[in-house]
């Protein structure tokens, strides 16, 4: 039922206005705690201080995939239920997802240089995340090419659902192919394979990243709704202008 309530953009806007300061505040607190924990976490006995890159790398990688999953659900919302805010959510998520994917790739290569001896290797997981980044850029380009938001939304929704095939490939690429990238060590059968002194800061950073994503996404959705209203007003103004002929 709340989803149906939120179909009214005005109600959504008032909710977003009320929630955003709280979300931003909680995000700042979560980052303060998370970064502090990450700072004081012990160095790895093999990797030294470079292990701290993981506190940025892993949460951004999780969210980069989670963001595409969210866009896929929004795509279903656009195509199946025709929820009026679904394509707004999808459009607002794409640039954030692209930025997180880029962050994941950059931090990964910075870690890879001292550990693997190269900024980039053509490993299955790295390659599939790079493809994810290219698909984010393709989706953003598609949004910007079509003028009418409703038309663009449906076209992007189909592309997003087709692209969602890449998500399981990224997730299990480390299991299917014998890759340089290490296999899953946090979420797996038999419990996490990470020492608690590193696991807890990581989980705190993940929480902070999720909060950051929710805050940015909500703000971007609000901006997108306002942008569409401005567009409609300008179209109406142009039609009403004297001498427009129509």
């Amino acid at each position: 039922m709340p989803i149906i309530d939120l179909a009214n953009p005005t109600r959504f806007l008032s909710l977003a206005e009320r929630a955003l300061p709280w979300l931003a505040g909680t995000t700042a607190i979560a980052f303060a705690i998370g970064l502090n924990l990450a700072w004081t976490a012990p160095d790895d006995y093999q990797q030294g201080a470079t292990v701290k890159i993981m506190f940025i790398h892993v949460p951004s990688a999780w969210l980069a995939m989670g963001c595409w999953a969210l866009m896929s659900i929004a795509a279903l919302g656009t195509l199946v239920w025709r929820h009026p805010l679904a394509d707004v959510a999808a459009k607002a998520a794409a640039p954030i997802g692209a930025a997180l994917t880029l962050l994941c790739l950059v931090t990964g290569s910075l870690w890879g240089r001292p550990m693997w001896g190269a900024y980039w290797v053509w490993d299955a997981r790295l390659t599939s995340v790079l493809v994810l980044f290219l698909m984010y850029l393709g989706v953003i380009a598609l949004w910007r090419t079509v003028d009418d938001p409703a038309r663009a939304g449906r076209a992007v929704a189909i592309l997003t659902l087709v692209g969602a095939i890449n998500l399981p490939i990224i997730k299990w690429s480390v299991d299917w192919w014998n890759t340089l990238h290490q296999p899953a060590s946090v979420v797996r059968l038999g419990g996490a394979a990470i020492h608690p002194t590193i696991l807890w800061p990581l989980l705190m950073m993940a929480l902070a990243f999720v909060l950051l994503f929710v805050t940015l996404h909500l703000a971007a959705m609000r901006n997108e709704i306002l942008r569409r209203r401005v567009r409609t007003l300008m179209l109406m103004q142009a039609q009403a202008a004297p001498g427009s002929g129509a």
Partner: protein, 222 residues
């Protein structure tokens, strides 16, 4: 059934009689193959080793050439409206169009491959293997491209964007196509393993491409 065969014959005729179809694709393929030795130098051993990859890349790029006209031309002259309002299921109609597209643009590339392999110092056995993988893999490229072609209908100005959207989706086909070709030359993998995965990718692309393109067209023509 007659509607589908009529559509098939029409598309083949259009592709053969209107210029800029199959011939241009093969010519583009030949140019890509010719340019590569200029870029990396005429080292025959090196060319022989990376030849299958060059052939695959050339075929991949050549198969993109005529995609943006595949459905937009029909949308412009109104025949797409007729297909949509007709009794034939839209998915079958686009599948037939993709099949005709493959026969006129994909198959000539496959046939040209053994000859172009000679330019890259590939022996007959290797060239045949590459041609076989292209025969199995190019339908996947066409049907993945079909999704892009259907999206291009709502774009109105597709062109380069279409390539940007379609190319990331073709990565698995390229990986397994080249893997199967290389397996045929040096091993150590048996040829069958990547080749069967390639065939599976083609089958998946046929189903997925047809339904996604059908959905995209319905929404685009609303």
């Amino acid at each position: 059934m007659t509607a589908l065969s009529a559509l098939f014959v029409r598309d083949i005729k259009l592709a053969v009689r209107v210029g800029g179809g199959a011939g241009i694709g093969v010519l583009f393929f030949l140019i890509v193959v010719t340019l590569t030795p200029f870029a990396i130098g005429p080292d025959l051993n090196l060319l022989g080793r990376i030849g299958p990859a060059i052939l695959w890349l050339g075929a991949l790029l050549a198969s993109l050439l005529t995609l943006d006209r595949l459905l937009t031309a029909d949308a412009e002259d109104g025949s797409l409206d007729l297909i949509l309002t007709g009794g034939t299921p839209l998915e079958l109609a686009v599948a037939v169009k993709a099949l005709a597209q493959w026969l006129t643009t994909g198959l000539p590339l496959v046939i040209a491959t053994p000859f172009f392999g000679l330019l890259l110092n590939l022996d007959l056995r290797t060239s045949t293997a590459v041609a076989l993988t292209l025969l199995a893999g190019t339908p996947a490229l066409t049907f993945i491209g079909l999704i892009g072609a259907a999206l291009a209908v709502s774009l109105r100005r597709g062109g380069l964007l279409l390539a940007v959207l379609v190319l990331p989706l073709t990565v698995p086909v390229l990986i397994f196509g080249v893997a199967a070709s290389n397996a045929a030359i040096v091993g150590p993998l048996p040829f069958g393993t990547p080749f069967t995965i390639l065939c599976a990718l083609t089958l998946v692309a046929m189903v997925l491409g047809t339904f996604a393109a059908g959905t995209a067209l319905r929404h685009a023509m609303e």
